[in-house]
Amino acid sequence: MRINEAPLEEVFRLLKTTENGLSLSEAQKRLTYFGYNEIREIRKRSLLLMFLSQFTHFLALILWLAALLAFFSDFLHPGEGMRHLGWAIVTVIIINALFAFVQEYKAERAIEKLKLLLPSKVRAIREGREMELHVRELVPGDLIFLEEGAKVPADVRVIEAYGLVVNNAPLTGESLPVSLTPEPQKGELFTSKNIAFAGATVLSGHGKGIVFATGMHTEFGRIARLTETVQWEPTPLQREISYTSKSIALIAILIGLFFFMIGNLLKRTFWENFTFAIGVIVALVPEGMLPTVTLSLALGSQRLARRKTLVKKLSAVEALGSVTVICTDKTGTLTQNKMEVKRLWLPESSEETFKMLLKIAYLCNNAAFVNDQYKGDPTEVALLKFARQKISKIEAQRLSEIPFDAERKRMTILCEMEGKRLALTKGAVETVLPLCTHVLYGKEKLPFTEDMRKNLMETYYAMMDEGLRVLLFAYSEDIPEENMILVGLVGLEDPPRPEVKEAILN
């Protein structure tokens, strides 16, 4: 039985813990076995190896060979400046290696940013006593408190929840809050509503949970580890440099050999020929290529920085120029992440229909206006803001809710308003429209005809073409979500950032 499917007694048994938490000795034993609860880099190669590799790539090896030949030539025929050339080549190798090492080292620090998403302290229960622990000392089986505003420190099976709502955005990218419950849940762990994941934030409420996974074995750790499996492909420039340096090396050696043979034919001494050949080879090796490339990339990254582009790896400067397709996140990156109601469509523009739409927008809504601030999902906040701008507070009593979920794509609340019980629904057109049998025309409810459906769909597609997110509003007077009365469409937009248009044009 998996941890999310188990009833509470079974959870304690599975994790070998009790309501008093773990004993101190047991906690210590588990800490030794499972390790610290921390996100750590599983380093592919040591820093030393990373540093040494900057001296051993192909172009660097050619330069080493050239330097060696220069020193050897100076040994045979001193005073011809070959020693200075040798030292110049060595200096070029060292400077480039240091530069490249620093760049690569900085780029590998991605994990450091992920670590910031975990908290540092947590309240837990051990041996029946409440105590504050360092998060890294948490082990599977620990009983911890989940408190409003705090970050979840490890993967936790919830055993108590009082209005406990979390935001799993660091894991899923979705800002939709998730209400947690201690009840057993079937299905995947990842979508269970009784699991709080490391990195999530407790938005409201409080509760208790038992840790079942820590450190790199949490979902968060899995993501961190996945980022480390990325294999970097050489950029087009790196491939060209590699190809060019191999070609140059071959040509230089061939030409050197050629001149050596000519010298032989001209009956010069072996060492004269050898020295001459070395001089030709060293002259042909482009010592300046590496620093020139590095410098031009550095200048390029500075120019990009002036245009507000941060370049972490120099080779990306050239790679950016070779890009043909850009894949980008939308919400919050291209857009301002501020939903607004942009357009409405009503089957008939009367005050009654409009008021009904506003009531649904106001009541079928889990966003709240508290302390002069709107709190909740951005779409719901937009609808609440819109409704509050048009009408003052609506008196109604919420009786129950069928919450929104990704499969049904709609949300319904049952409420008592003006002496009548109504089920108010909002959701995606494709899931709500099939449930509508009537349409609200002012004070009348008319059957929903095919012509009306056609008209609605045309408007829906037109709104979609404008880039709006469209929701359909309806209600039913009897059984919720049956024989519903269509009220209207609302188009919402998350406006793009002002600089996006120019960025895309350019």
Binding site: M1, R2, I3, N4, L14, L15, K16, K29, R30, Y33, F34, I42, K44, P140, G141, D155, R157, E188, L189, F190, F212, A213, M216, H217, G221, R222, R225, L226, T229, Q231
Partner: protein, 246 residues
């Protein structure tokens, strides 16, 4: 399902580490209707009430599943006790927890070393089997995969590293047995590729064969040991026993 494991032995210890070994042993025994032997080994002078309680718990669970089960409490060195039991009781498969006794290679039966890193995913929904090298024990590997598939009703991923005719034989056998699986082939074993496969497929359990100890196996052993040390999910290291291939 025909099985080569008529008798299964599992070493119980008095801490959470053996929970995994006992759990998998029970499930496998239930699937193949084997005789299950539970053995708690304690050192001289060590208190064993906790171990006795655990033994009783697993014994009752096994009985509830309708299994023929024996429970033993032994005193002494774990390796010697296990070696003795394996000979006397003609054990086919031994489950030991990850910190089990050393020198397991000398034991005359198949061995499954169970290492648990995530207590919440003890029941696997996705199992990744890593097959590498020549796979001389392909029949036993196939049997094990089939057993786990049926025991846990799980999704099976096979990652085959290397080129061996035995991979095809194994796949054919599994297809005939109705095992639904996803297979990926790689020219050679690579730690990074396997880690990526485990993480991206969200495998809950990794099963791999114990690497050979020959000198030429040194590099392969190093990569495998790195995978075992840094396993991203629960792990079973499986050592097949040659008699089962005949």
């Amino acid at each position: 399902m025909r099985t080569i494991y008529k008798k299964i032995l599992v070493q119980i210890s008095d801490d959470f580490i053996s929970e995994g070994a006992a759990y998998f042993a029970l499930k496998v025994a239930r699937e193949v209707k084997s005789h299950l032997v539970l053995c708690f080994i304690h050192e001289r002078g060590q208190e064993f009430e906790k171990g006795e309680r655990l033994l009783k718990k697993y014994f009752l669970e096994a009985e509830k599943e309708g299994l023929k089960v024996e429970a033993l409490i032994k005193e002494g060195r774990p390796f010697e006790i296990l070696e003795d039991l394996i000979k006397k009781e003609a054990i086919d498969l031994l489950f030991v927890p990850g910190d089990g006794p050393k020198k397991l290679d000398q034991l005359l039966c198949s061995i499954a070393i169970v290492k648990i890193v995530n207590l919440g995913k003890l029941h696997p929904k996705r199992i990744l089997f890593l097959l590498k090298g020549n796979l001389p024990s392909w029949k036993e590997n196939a049997n094990l995969i089939e057993t786990f598939y049926h025991a846990f009703k799980t999704k099976v991923f096979l990652v085959c590293c290397g080129k061996s005719e035995n991979f095809n034989k194994l796949l054919f056998h599994l297809e005939k047995a109705g095992v639904k699986m996803e297979v990926e082939f790689y020219p050679s074993f690579s730690h990074n590729i396997i880690i990526f496969q485990i993480l991206s497929k969200r495998a809950d359990l990794l099963i791999l064969e114990k690497t050979d100890q020959r000198i030429l196996g040194f590099l392969r052993r190093r990569e495998s040991q790195k995978l075992i040390r840094e396993t991203p999910c629960n792990l079973i290291i499986f050592r097949p026993f040659s008699k089962h291939e005949n």
